[in-house]
Subunit: 341 residues, 6 copies
């Protein structure tokens, strides 16, 4: 199964360790972005994954391609055009001090690429799955149109379409509300991934759950997922990630999956020493796509996805660099962290 | 309101990460010291803060001034004289292994500066508040005399005087006991900050509280603060910080404030992944001074101070580099540490 | 009391911080290995410790000797021969993601050194104690024969012999099962250190305890230790380390000691922010040997050993770089981690 | 004498040491830009320098202000508006491999700030000198208009105006040729700084000198400077920097000054181990402004400027962090580099 | 044209900057090896290059593949077998102090892979060129046999075969003299690359040239190349690299090419600030193969190869990370190292 | 031959690479000092060397001892007393910008140790050589008296005494002129090492040589050395180091030796890429002592010393970490810097 993911990848400039921005004069420079992170997860588990984006034809774009290609992602469909690569600055928090992201992603190649840039039928040749997130349509008018064209073409070509709603309040600045776009886009989606805020903001479906409290009410999530599935009849399933944010270092992590037949609630992991939670949701989507394609039962796919994304919190950088064996071991119940030698 | 703080700033040489001293051949070189840390906190929140000290006229003193000035502290009152800058070496602990400080601060410019060095009336021109700590008079005979002259002059000029008792058992080596000096100095203080050990050692007022246990007895602190206020009739209020040291990484953190009208006990924070607790008390003093000058109710000032100093534990270095918004957000109840983007 | 330890020391190449292997292009290069770690612990506490091994006559072997000598270990008995130094790569985990060790230790000087290389009577001159582990006989046929020769000679010379059974499933590749060798070797041992898995795998004595669960059943350990002492009548005592692996960062840590007269269970430490647990067991052995030679009661020796190895978890690198005062302070009950200044 | 400099400051992201971009995952993050660099030089020599620009109201803009303020530059006139800060990536070369700059400076706050943003009369209050470069008008239509308004207002207010022509072929993308703008702007300039390429490209005055050859023809520079002074009758003097680029590490460095009375050729320095030549020209301008304000003879001002900028090649970063004493020592003939202790 | 290169790639562990081994506790960890370096050069210039080797099936082998794949090298033909990856330690010298290499490459996967491991006809499918060096047959008996089988199969399949003689005195330890093997292997080579020492040691053809002197005698090289071509009638051409080692930082660099029709002597480069000269020869081979396939005249191919390898001396790591444009610019005569912006 | 060296060792805090002090927030922390550097050189070449000093009984002193002991120096004679260790800050220069040293060495343990601290007869037991420098008597009155007592006792005990005059203008602040002391001390010296400035300032013997010029006049050095030998009849020989400081990176380096029989002028080395010249003179003294004890002819000793110290310029840190083989290879004429593999 060849998977296409479409969206933005940014230069990620992070302070070393837990430092305030420019506290020292050094920044970690890696790459990351929702859909790229999913592609890396899939390639990492051995699947064929191709990432579609636009990158400027300069040394920074070259480096990004080297990084993705090294990690096994097919980069042959990446366009080289436009004037710049989006950047995000990341300042790592600790305890009650949150990590902070500063976006500098306007005018990026992917934001300015017009509809003529992507030949969707050609791109989808040989592919069986498309993954997109709610970030791409939030970037610019053009990216929004490309996103819609993308999912429509995918659906027409017969691909399974998955989408992480991924609401970002600091995007959506080009004149559309998130819900105006996402409610249209989701009509073409088979597998939805979201958290409660995404559903509220992107689909305007009210969630009776309270994020800030740090507590978890399972029943509410069941109802919420049913509501979404009712609204979108062609949607086959929805997974909701359940993050309890106790501090910047300590999170509860779980997810549920509603496939219209059943509502599954995953094992819950208490993560006490978060290394990096950026990309956590993407690692869930990557795990879910892998799981749905490799396990016979949805519960297993869900558990794989939750275990995979639990482990992502131990890895610095957007990309989930754990092995298939790591995930399966945790999924199998061994969370002991004993040294392997 | 312009605030003057008077005391020592040292070159802080810390091992990288959690390393034993000289385990690697690299040291982090920053600056810090009780009163300077308070000045940085205040400038950081947008107040006018001027730090008064003496620094040698060499490249190390220059760098220290650059650092303070960059952080918004007025450095125009700093004297350039004497032979050296004090140094402290810091080895970061973890779990049951404590962080360790080695002082190399004898013979520093601030310790050798005589009474003629500081023209207090000129220094206090335009200022409304003076902050000092019990460290400055502990350094040397000369620094002790300057400290006393400073608080007296401040009081006479009509400034509000705050003092963090800050007892350090490895100082006070020039022939005076802490209590001999501090009991005199405190007579000129309006706002006192202390912990239970400071009160015992600097004021020789017995505290019925047990630090080593890691447990907290609120009632005892109420009594203790009353005792202090009784001894010092001109003192307007005393704040006591309540640290429960469970390990080098895990501390409970709270404070109480007795303003003669009421005894306030703040919210208690459980800090589970301490990044750096040096300067924690100073960030409380800074927060308290800010709070008393910006909130109408002492309780708010206390809660601001506790939230500010709670966040300091997430910041490497003596200085509290969190924003006013960070503090207000935590003070408002959001300790979730959720990524801000 | 001069102590001899015999075994392998490897070049330890660790990823910086919590990174996957080669995530960045930097590796921390230090040295470590079971018996060397014990020698460092002992020298660190002020005892005379001499490490016996074989190292190649090149700049890497030189550096290793410099490191050991600097830490106070006598290196004058180290042979310089053979073609290479063993290497182990260490990737640090976090949360549910385990640390991982990749060994590249085949063909090391210590593995290829023949029986003629070591003149045991000369080596043991002036010494009163020998420490060895189950790793050395696991490396190669030659190392196994040297190990047996070593303990026999030590016993004949009248040294006290201690052995950490230290079972490593990825070693023992030269054609012998661990138990074939270790059941012979242990006959010459006075003081045994082990965990439950070691006893099962190295001595094939069944333990009714379940490691993976993360829970601790004291009674079972008493029975287990009795079983071992029954099997090996000349063994004077056995200490069993009790690690509850809750995650890569969080471990419970305790130990018990059975000296045929009594069964002692140590204080239990909850370590919540592990810096490095490699070498933890060795720091226990080092602490135990120190303790048995410096305290009048076995319980004290046990508590010293557990406190010492508890503190090791706060130190990066194989070697336990804490001071005698650090250990005694923790042993005395102060686990508060309060800054020392 | 208070000096105003107006222009852009960028986030400078440089590869560590001599590395290709993203060869490792780390970037040095500092700040720099033509006019800011001049302000830093002047503040560094003890003059009053104020830098005027627009920066976004985020943590990156804050850090930039902290850096400038720390170095003694007045930042009180900096506007906080717009969406982003310009960035430049710098890859350091060696030998025949050139250093390379990738600009990502479009859409920066300074490029989008309209004419209403700057109240020139208020800005120039108390100032005696304005410095600008040919980079600012090259950024955008708006920045060009602001540049012209700036120099006109400065001239009207009676300030001395200096300008480094600083031609950059990768800018000037908004629809104007450099010469269209610069020939107008230069009419208001008293002191011009340039190299031969700048004069050709910005003023379209043909230079009979050949840069690429690495050789120097003094007579041609005399003629060239005369030509410029003839074209611009209100220009008081022009300085031309003479760089012989022998390799990325080895440059000859000198300058000449034509003040209509005399043509001065400076001492020539052979710089054999360039640490960082970015900002070299700016350090010359800074030195020249200092020199013209502190020395009685133009020759001295020129020699000071050349010595200052020679030393800049030994300093990493855009800013010239050498002392006044360093410059005067070199100007006095001591280029021996002997250790000072 | 698809190029196959066959040989070893090692983990390269280099001291940071110019440090003695283990002076600090950090090592740069990259990958490199003669034939891999050539493959990287070719992929870097946009050619199809596939590297054939054997790597262990562990995380270190994985990382190596990620690195090569990221740089555009086809890694699909790499075998995963054997027990370890070869390592070389590199200590960088300066001035009269040489860089030093310590090999730890015995028992590597490529050294132990038997003849059955490589299916040469399958490997060569679609390929037009094979490159090998004299290092591979020097590693082990098995590697030697594979090398011979490889060149024979390549020749039979009609590929052009190039070989860098690359004599290493510390290899060839399995019982054969270099010349015994290389004189046989070279019979199948079309394009030979060598330096004077290689020819002497690998082919036992006496060179009347003196390396240690640091001086260059062109005529002697002409004679020497003619001698080689006489001995090996099927060899189409030989290129000899001419390094004048003046110090660890300063080298003259040039090469000559004898294609039986003409003897070409390249431009000579004086490299004064060497960043890393390891891999210099390989970058020449890579440049030559590129040149012979893209330029119509051998002289151009030679000049491209010399310019490419001249630039390699400015790049840290075994791999030549300069662009095609960099090489063409230098080849075109611009060695000025002027900043590109 | 066991050699004693007596003097100060300091904590050396150097900026990373070529950085201005505190340009980044990191400092390299190593140790160094004239007489310690000589001891390290000697131990490094395999001689028995014992360093005598006083160090504070804290973790910094411990680390210093670990470093020296690791490098093979006997540290058993080091006293642990006093309040602090001297520190020197080092800012590395380049080109015309000099390296700068800031001393913070007042009040160090070695400066405050009184005459009762050192039991010279016990210290000299078994030793054959004493080395001291002109730095030790320059530190303090007490250190001066200890220095004189030391050389007198050494002479009485029959040791050969060597002394590097090492004039430091920023020391000698306790009330004596250098010459007052050194002219007395030198009376007990057999082997003197100096440069022209040392001789002028420490012995007040006028040298007709001009340092600043960067040129070398051999004849003048011959005369100068004769003058010294005439003044001090018991001096057996004097070696004068001849440094031509062309820039911070480029130095000529040579030395001459006058043993009353002959005047030897060594080979001259042009060092073009200095890594670290601090400790260069000490490495010469170390080389000379080794040479005089291992070569039959003074010329060889001189050439060994010059080659050794030439190589020191390629090593970061005060200590000369090159091998005996490195020195002998250079002494033998191979300065080519060719990679050794």
């Amino acid at each position: 199964m060849k998977i296409i993911t479409f969206g933005e990848i940014m230069l990620r400039l992070k302070t070393p360790g837990v430092e305030r921005l420019f506290q020292s004069h050094s920044l970690e420079a890696t790459f990351g972005g929702g859909e790229a992170n999913v592609a890396v997860s899939l390639a990492n588990y051995g699947m064929q994954a191709s990432f579609v984006t636009a990158l400027p034809a300069n040394a920074i774009g070259d480096a990004c391609i080297r990084e993705l290609r090294g990690l096994g992602v097919d980069t042959s469909l990446i366009l080289r055009q436009g004037e710049r690569m989006g950047i995000y600055f990341l300042e790592a928090g600790a305890n009650a001090l949150p990590s902070k992201v500063i976006y500098d992603r306007a005018h990026a190649s992917i934001a300015t690429a017009g509809p003529e840039a992507f030949d969707w039928p050609a791109i989808f040749e040989g592919a069986g799955w498309l993954h997109i997130t709610g970030i791409t349509p939030a970037i610019s008018e053009a990216a929004m149109q490309n996103s819609l064209a993308c999912v429509k073409a995918a659906k027409e070509t017969g691909l399974t379409v998955s989408c992480d709603l991924n609401y970002r309040k600091n995007l959506w600045k080009y004149g559309k509300k998130a819900s105006e776009v996402m409610r249209e886009l989701v009509k073409f989606v088979d597998v939805t991934v979201a958290n409660e805020e995404d559903i509220q903001k992107a689909l305007e479906i009210e969630a009776d759950v309270h994020v800030e409290s740090g507590e978890l009410d399972t029943e509410a999530y069941k109802k919420l997922s049913n509501k979404v599935l009712e609204c979108y009849p062609s949607m086959r399933m929805i997974a909701i990630t359940l993050r309890e944010s106790q501090s910047a270092d300590v999170n509860g992590w779980a997810a549920c999956l509603n496939d219209r037949n059943n509502f599954y609630l995953s094992k819950r992991y208490q993560i006490t020493d978060i290394v990096d939670r950026v990309g956590g949701g993407d690692s869930f989507s990557g795990g879910l796509i892998y799981g749905l394609n490799h396990f016979s039962h949805p519960r297993e796919a869900l558990e794989f996805a939750v275990a995979a994304s639990c482990l992502k919190h131990s890895v610095n950088g957007d990309f989930n660099r754990v092995t298939l064996e790591d995930v399966k071991k945790l999924m199998g119940g061994d969370a002991s962290g004993r040294v392997q030698r």
